[in-house]
Amino acid sequence: MLKNRPTLAYIVGRAGWYAVTFFVAITVNFFLPRLGDANPVDTIMAKVSEGLDATSAKAKEEAYLKEFDLVEVDPTGKVKRDAQGKPVRTSLGHQFVNYLGMSVRFDLGSSILQHPKRVSEIIKAALPWTLALQLPTIVLGWLIGNGLGALAAYRRGVFDKLMYPLALLASAVPAFCFGMLLVYVFGIRLEWFPAVGGYDDGLTPELSFAFFRSASYYYVLPFASVFSIVVGGQAIGMRSMCIYELGTDYVKYAKLLGITESKILFYMFRNAMLPQLTGLALALGTMVAGALIAEMIFSYPGLGMAVLTAIQGNDYPLISGCTLLVTVCVLCANFSVDVLVGFLDPRIRAARQTGK
């Protein structure tokens, strides 16, 4: 049935490979953090063991280890200990089985360091901020960047001579450098914008104008710190793509046919934009990492910091939860772009039909 529908066959095939990638990814993401000999309970114990004596410390540690199913427990419910009196860690295989079991039930488990909080709670609370900061930045940046790039390629002349080096520079400035600079100039010296937080401390998140205004006011610096970079990067890519397109025979021919400039521009933009889509997909994949910087510099609410602390403290469930999220996002983005480009670009489709 797929035979006579090459495109469909292609999509199904791709989907298959992405599925494979997904499973390998979550497996790796599960085992990777657990390979080290670090143990999250140590981190908790450090926080709470001030003034404990040996026996109660031991009791506390065992309580945690049991709670998080990190140790072998003998029938009598006592923690198994090896010759040195160290607790016997649960086998990774066993943990993995539990993990898979929970995953299929869409249960991410509860965080270790933030016990007894559910991982889903943590993500739910933080994710909206990350999305609110990253999505508009990336998408807007992508659109405007491509617009500028195309314009520069089409106009050339002074505009291009100015835009191009600027774009290069913008894309060369590391996000955190620019962020720090913004904090220093507008937050601390001029005090035009708040340099810290996601909204006025006097408010709580709600659908009110006051909150919305405050939020957008606090939004400016973090947004700016990433935006210009995205724009720059995209503009450069788009510019060279467009210059290439403008040099092609079909544009020359269209000109000689007397087809209107706007139409020709549209041809160029559309064809040059196709490869850029892949860039967009990749950018979406780096959202959480990108958010991390903003959270560091502006202590903006979001998921990044949660992930970082989770990784540093070996908070396995939280790590797995977040990596799962990232994995799904990245793969979905890439897959949809794969398919989309296939639909938009007959060349690629043709290439596929004749078996790549």
């Binding site: 140590d42 004596d53 309580a63 040195q84 508009p136 205004r213 400016v220 609410p301």
Partner: protein
């Protein structure tokens, strides 16, 4: 009154609220882009964010912003277990029996109106006015129940106290022991903590009385019972809303951006303790910024009124209305001693000459000026603070006689005395250290967690000056997750640590105990939480029983005149043996405040309270004294 249903219900509330936040966030994602455009029009006058109050949930004049106590949203507000601010620290929601004033060393009343230390017991009488916010009186049974938990559940932080206690009993006013709680109209208010005759130590008991929050028995007990006394199950209750507590505030809201508590106007103590006055701030908000410097930016902007974070070069922030306890060096009130723990089970560190050589080699002034921004009195020998309350036990004479300080010449002398020789390279850099048999001493590593920048710089200075003196040491910065294991299991040569930080009635005894006790001595590889460097092994030949004798003796002494010689002896012993290497003095908690919105905060000039934030022990009392700045 909170029961199981209520608890479950409250969890429901929380999840729905976070769901709402999620929805909102998604809207925000779309909307904020547009918000930018609005912003183009919106004027950006300086500090607009701080100036207008329109639509604020927390009006600036009625809200006290403090920070630095909590990192990340607290996972639970369950008073038993491991809650975050404001429960992890005391007296905003749940209250202790007594409050210790580290300025004058006295205990101030809270739930307990008085206490007395007898030869074999400590007795406490509760304030008759003390009430839970559900109207129930705070009774002796609540106290016995609270401490009883420590006996039942070894994993609780109250558990250790029981090695010093024989029993905790409730007595009615006629001195008769009150039988099991019966909902009688009359309830007992006297509690007697009988000391364990083997380990007589009223000091640690007093510590506990000012450190342990009392929980409402009539709420907790049924909840525990429902869960067949399974503590882990019980800990899953988050006590977010409608929890029964005795303190002046209640939880208002908690998110990943801030925790807020709201004033309870019927707080029993307003009348009983504060002459009918109410605390000035209606709300206390603890924003959860993500890095230290964020807090100090907020301080400069006047968004934060009080912070306990480390703020370097505080004097540069004065122009922005930021103040600290003192307005000159050392700016803060130190109470703890960050030090390098030495592993006495690893050669050649058991050699006193080597340890003293290290102590003479380290440039303590560099540490003080660079690593801690000068927030420390000059370091003196020994582990008794040469200032504040402990000064009375500090002996200048001993310090001169036995002590160590930065003196490279003496360091070399000690090395020579130990038979060590140092080999230096052409450019004066250390190649290796040799012992008296001419064998190369393996490089000793100083462990410290990566990313703890202040400790990192302390270690760097220490290592640098020790190498200069010819001792072959190096930094080793390890992942935090590995650090703690290394610390407690004794997997280190030298390691950074700050023992027993909080000022409490038992200081300086508890500091000595934490560093020198040979009780529960275990070999390397097993966890040891005191005397982590395994100094003075009781099973080894050179064991000095005197140390443990003194540690056992001191708590039983009540008269300073008698304590002094004991402390002198112990401290001198520490100086001579130099088992560990004190580096600098640090405050228990930092204390920086802004004068923009609230006035009359305690400070060295106006020391009516020690430098503590509200919701941290005695610090809570400032809430009745501070006043909003009228602008």
């Amino acid at each position: 009154m909170i029961d199981a249903r209520r608890a479950r219900h409250s969890r429901a509330i929380c999840s729905t609220s976070s769901a709402r936040l999620a929805v909102l966030g998604k809207r925000a994602a779309g909307a904020l882009g547009l918000g930018l455009l609005l912003l183009g029009l919106a004027d950006c006058r300086p500090n607009r964010a701080q100036e207008d109050d329109k639509g604020s949930v927390f009006p600036r004049t009625e809200t006290f912003y403090l920070g630095g106590r909590q990192w990340g949203e607290p996972s639970t507000f369950n008073p038993i277990g491991t809650p975050g601010w404001p429960i992890s620290t005391m007296n905003l929601l749940y209250e202790t029996l007594l409050m210790y004033n580290s300025l004058d060393g006295r205990m101030q009343p809270l739930l307990a109106e008085s206490y007395a230390v007898h030869d074999d017991s400590v007795e406490v009488t509760l304030n008759a006015a003390a009430r839970w916010n559900d109207g129930q009186p705070v009774s002796a049974w609540d106290v016995t129940f609270t401490f009883g938990l420590g006996q039942r559940f070894k994993s609780l932080n109250i558990a250790p106290i029981w090695q010093y206690l024989a029993s905790v009993r409730a007595y009615d006013k006629d001195g008769r022991e009150a039988p099991e709680a019966n909902a009688g109209q009359d309830y007992p208010r006297r509690v007697v903590f009988a000391l364990n005759p083997e380990k007589k130590n009223p000091l640690v008991v007093l510590d506990a009385l000012q450190a342990q929050i009392i929980v409402p028995r009539h709420v907790i007990e049924p909840l525990l019972a429902e869960r067949h006394n399974d503590l882990d199950e019980f800990k899953k209750l988050k006590f977010e809303h409608g929890a029964v507590s005795s303190g002046p505030y209640r939880l208002f809201s908690s998110s990943s951006e801030k925790i807020a508590v709201v004033r309870d106007d019927d707080y029993w103590g307003n009348v009983a303790l504060h002459g009918g006055k109410k605390p000035a701030p209606k709300y206390i908000v603890h924003p959860l910024y993500k890095s230290n410097d964020a807090f100090s930016v907020a301080l400069r902007q006047g968004r934060l009124d009080l912070s306990t974070t480390f703020v370097p070069r505080i004097w540069l922030k004065a122009e922005k209305g930021v103040r600290s306890w003192l307005d000159r060096e050392p700016y803060f009130l130190s109470s703890s001693i960050p030090m390098l723990l030495v592993n006495h089970k690893r050669a050649p560190l058991m050699d006193v000459h080597l340890r003293r050589a290290m102590a003479f080699a380290i440039n303590y002034d560099d540490i003080r000026e660079l690593s801690v921004s000068g927030y420390s009195e000059p370091l003196r020998p020994g582990i008794i603070l040469p200032f504040g309350l402990e000064r009375r036990f500090f002996s200048e004479e001993d310090a001169q006689k036995y002590g160590t300080w930065f003196d490279p010449a003496r360091a070399k002398a000690e090395l020579a005395a130990g038979g060590y020789t140092s080999v230096f390279g052409p450019r004066g850099e250390l190649v290796e250290t040799r012992d008296r048999d001419g064998k190369r001493v393996p490089t000793l590593y100083v462990k410290s967690p990566t990313g703890w920048t202040d400790w990192e710089s302390i270690v760097r200075v220490a290592v640098k000056s020790m190498r200069a003196a010819g001792i072959d040491v190096r930094e080793r910065f390890v992942e935090t997750s590995l650090f703690w294991n290394a610390l407690y299991e004794g997997d280190f040569d030298l390691i950074m640590h700050t023992p027993s930080t909080q000022p409490s009635p038992s200081k300086p005894w508890s500091r000595f105990e934490a560093l020198l006790t040979s009780r529960d001595f275990v070999p390397l590889g097993q966890r040891m939480y005191k005397n982590i460097g395994r100094f003075n092994d009781p099973h080894a030949p050179g064991y000095d029983p005197r140390i443990d004798e003194l540690l056992a003796l001191i708590p039983t002494l009540t008269d300073d005149a008698v304590r002094l010689p004991a402390y002198r002896e112990l401290n001198a012993l520490f100086m001579r043996e130099q088992p560990y290497l004190p580096l600098v003095y640090r405050p228990d908690t930092f204390y920086e405040f802004s004068i923009k919105h609230w006035a009359n905060l305690p400070s060295a000039a106006n020391p009516y309270l020690p430098p503590l934030i509200p919701g941290d022990r005695l610090g809570t009392n400032m809430l009745w004294s501070i006043t909003p700045v009228s602008n």
